[in-house]
């Protein structure tokens, strides 16, 4: 059975689109975007559609219930043209994709499994790049979300917005749209005229900026002075300079001797730094700052400390999505066919308290009898099950639809 193509799922999705308020479908310049969808129970995508307004779109959706609904991040002169070169690209939103799939959280061992399609070796947790037994790269994964994964993904979103988009890129909160992806993460859409015409190369630079790719502390204030001493950036500098100063400060205040030793690669140097710690921290804080506390530490080692210090501040995004200027993105407030959850648009102020496994659940009434083949511990709303295997259960509607969409359960009489 494919993506839960059964009467309960069809009924639920149909009801959702029929009762949906058209205002929930509002997106910026809908007429200039390509709309695409995969109908429930099918595998091929219908592409190159356009709609004059949300009313027309909703009407179409009611008649062609989508398992997955997408819109282009790009604005086109002729979105309906089937030849990409004839669409007439006018610009695109800047998109950031944060996906728990790409972040190695420890809880993955509890809920994810992978199988090598060559030798059938199985394992749990974050999938290896290639099979440890046969070395092949054809690895299939069965992944689930848990609160921890989603919490980590949310942290990434906050980091991206608070640490980079607002202070460094001068984007205002009004200009970013945050959407739950409907499954394992979040999408951020920046929709200003400033970003619209950025080329793919330009977008790559922005992705590299937030991921810290190619980041060289020597360009951000760390230097060797003529007398051989080291100097570094100021906490008040802003940009990567300020970020470095702040993180080195935080890092040195919390790191253990062990950690420091492995970062600088020398017992002696780690000792010097630890002995001078208070003086060093005071110096970094001072206005203007003084990095004299690092006297005797080479620039190369200082750089290693700086890099270790900012590690947690680098954003974990799927850069391919950001770089692509013609991407199809899940439509805000549509349903995700692999979870039955709503790709809800969330305002920044609600993000903190947003609970995807509750607030993105749209089927709240009734209960369904499902036969669960295999599932780890799963929570939907206030209800939890699992881990379970091969049992017939009666569960609340939202959880039932979720298990059916995940393909972990089926309807059996």
């Amino acid at each position: 059975m494919g993506e839960g193509v059964n009467k309960e799922v069809v009924k639920a999705f149909k009801e959702y689109y029929q009762t949906l308020d058209v205002n929930e479908l509002v997106v910026k310049d809908l007429q200039e975007r390509e709309i695409a969808l995969i109908p429930l129970g099918q595998e091929t995508m219908i592409r190159h559609m356009t709609f004059p307004d949300t009313v027309a779109l909703k009407e179409y959706l009611e008649n062609h219930i989508p398992a997955h609904l997408y819109y282009s991040s790009a604005y086109y002169r002729e979105p309906q043209a089937s030849d990409m070169n004839k669409k007439g690209w006018k610009g695109a939103d800047l998109i950031f994709d944060v996906d728990a799939d790409h972040i190695p959280t420890p809880c993955k061992a509890d809920h994810d499994t992978w199988t090598c399609l060559e030798c059938m070796m199985k394992g749990t947790g974050f999938p290896p790049e290639s099979c440890p037994k046969c070395g092949m790269k054809r690895i299939e994964t069965t992944t689930w979300v848990c609160d921890r994964c989603l919490e980590v993904a949310k942290e990434e979103v906050f980091k991206l917005i608070d640490e980079y988009l607002i202070p460094d890129f001068g984007v205002s909160l009004k200009e970013v749209e945050v959407c739950f992806s409907g499954h394992r993460g979040y999408h951020l859409h920046v929709q200003t005229d400033d970003v619209k015409r950025l080329t793919s190369d330009g977008r790559r630079e922005i992705a590299d900026y937030v991921r810290g790719v190619g980041l060289d502390p020597k360009h951000q204030g760390f230097r060797m002075m003529k007398d051989g001493s080291i100097t570094g950036p100021d906490l008040r500098d802003g940009g990567w300079r300020g970020r470095f100063a702040k993180s080195v400060y935080a890092y040195l205040s919390r790191c253990t001797m062990e950690e420091l030793r492995s970062v600088v690669g020398s017992d002696e140097v780690a000792n010097i730094i630890m002995r001078n710690k208070d003086r060093l921290l005071r110096g970094i804080m001072a206005n203007p700052p003084s990095w004299m506390g690092l006297r005797g530490v080479e620039l190369g080692r200082t750089i290693r400390i700086a890099k270790a210090a900012v590690k947690d501040l680098l954003c974990n995004i799927d850069e391919r999505v950001t770089i692509d200027v013609k991407r199809l993105i899940r439509y805000p407030n549509s349903l995700h066919g692999k979870s039955g959850l709503k790709a809800a648009r969330i305002s920044y102020s609600d993000l903190e308290t947003f609970d995807p496994l509750k607030d993105a659940v749209v089927f709240k009434s009734g209960s369904i009898k499902v036969y669960v083949k295999e599932a780890p511990r799963v929570r939907i709303g206030d209800y939890e099950v699992g881990p379970v295997k091969n049992v017939q259960l009666e569960v609340p509607g939202g959880l039932g639809i979720y298990l059916l969409c995940k393909g972990a359960a089926e309807l059996r009489e």
């Binding site: 630079e205 900026y209 980041l215 100097t231 802003g238 940009g239 300079r241």
Partner: protein, 351 residues
């Protein structure tokens, strides 16, 4: 305020174009004796471009300077040679860079605005040891900076606050002049430029240019015809060394060496010679692969070596010497260095 002298310095500005338009000149007019001095100057400008030098500024007669620029461009596009366009774009870039480097700050901001719609703002921002003269919106910066090879130009290594990148004057000069170069190069793609024909009457004035173009281009091709051993980029040198030592190379490494050698004009036989010391050398198989890459068999396309970026991500880039810093492709490295070596050796310059 931009004066007429400024427009002569930066004739690519919109204000300069309106100045030209105000004359309402047609090609017909320009072909007459009355405007011969303008045509002369335009030809001179193109000639300098082909020679790889830039025309000294003529401030005594700014009007001619401004009028001659669009005509020079018309000649450049009309000559229908991508090579000429590149040479011209390069020389205009250098000229513009030299002028902007020592320009007044307010003028630079105006050049940015009028020439490229850039919102440059003069500033005097001092942050931990660095002094910045300008700030520029990130999106303007990213129109040009990704075309530079060196890591200093990566956005992540810049000072970015509030959506603006902070820069020194010389960097702004570099960015603006590169924007000019890209503008000249990209225009080739435009439909009316593709259709443009130099009017009959002006054609005669170009004869000298066509001859110069052929000679200089031939000189360039000669450089390529003769294999300049010392001009090989470090990545290729390293791979050839491995081969000579009998090491077998990864697929990507073999592809890079072979495509490189074929593209600088080595014969299949010669390329094969490099591989003979490798332990698992299989002449028949190797010949097939090399011939395939050379486009002699199979799909009949001649393959190009991978870009530096690609080689770097495969761990095959070994060095960033002074030439590496200026190029994005190993072939470009070779051409640049070979040309310089030959010039030095022949003791002649193309002027």
């Amino acid at each position: 305020m931009l004066t007429i002298e400024d427009l002569a310095k930066y004739p690519f500005l919109r204000k300069a174009s309106s100045f030209v338009e105000s004359y309402g000149l047609t090609f017909q007019d320009l072909a007459s004796d009355e405007y011969d001095y303008v045509v002369q100057r335009a030809v001179e400008r193109v000639r300098r471009g082909i020679e790889g030098r830039w025309a000294e500024l003529n401030v005594v007669d700014p009007e001619t300077e401004i009028l001659a620029y669009p005509l020079a461009l018309a000649f450049v596009y009309g000559l229908r040679s991508g090579w000429v366009v590149r040479r011209f774009a390069n020389s205009e870039q250098k000229r513009c860079f030299e002028l902007l480097k020592s320009e007044e700050k307010e003028k630079i901001a105006e050049v940015g605005k009028d020439g490229f719609d850039w919102d440059l703002e003069g500033t005097e921002l001092m942050v931990s040891g660095a002094l910045f003269d300008f700030s520029l919106p990130v999106e303007n910066y990213l129109e040009v900076a990704p075309s530079f090879h060196s890591p200093d130009w990566k956005l992540v290594n810049r000072h970015v606050i509030g959506g603006r990148v902070y820069l020194k004057q010389v960097e702004v000069a570099r960015l603006l002049s590169e924007a000019l170069k890209l503008k000249i190069l990209r225009k080739v793609e435009e439909e009316d430029i593709k259709k443009f024909q130099i009017p009959e009457k002006l054609l005669s004035k170009l004869e000298g240019l066509e001859k110069l173009m052929k000679e200089t281009k031939k000189y360039d091709e000669d450089v390529m015809a003769e294999f300049v051993e010392e001009a090989k980029p470090p990545c290729i040198v390293a791979l050839l060394k491995d081969l000579a030592a009998g090491k077998s190379l990864s697929h990507m490494a073999r592809f890079a060496v072979t495509t490189f050698l074929i593209n600088i004009g080595e014969s299949v036989e010669n390329v094969l010679k490099y591989f003979t010391s490798v332990a698992d050398f299989d002449e028949g198989k190797a010949r097939y692969q090399v011939e395939h890459i050379a486009g002699l068999i199979g799909s009949k396309t001649k393959y190009l070596p991978p870009k530096c970026d690609v080689l770097r991500s495969f761990g095959l880039c070994v060095g960033e010497d002074a030439y590496c810093k200026r190029v994005r492709h190993p072939l470009q490295y070779y051409k640049m260095k070979a040309r310089e070596i030959k010039r030095k050796r022949d003791g002649r310059r193309s002027e």
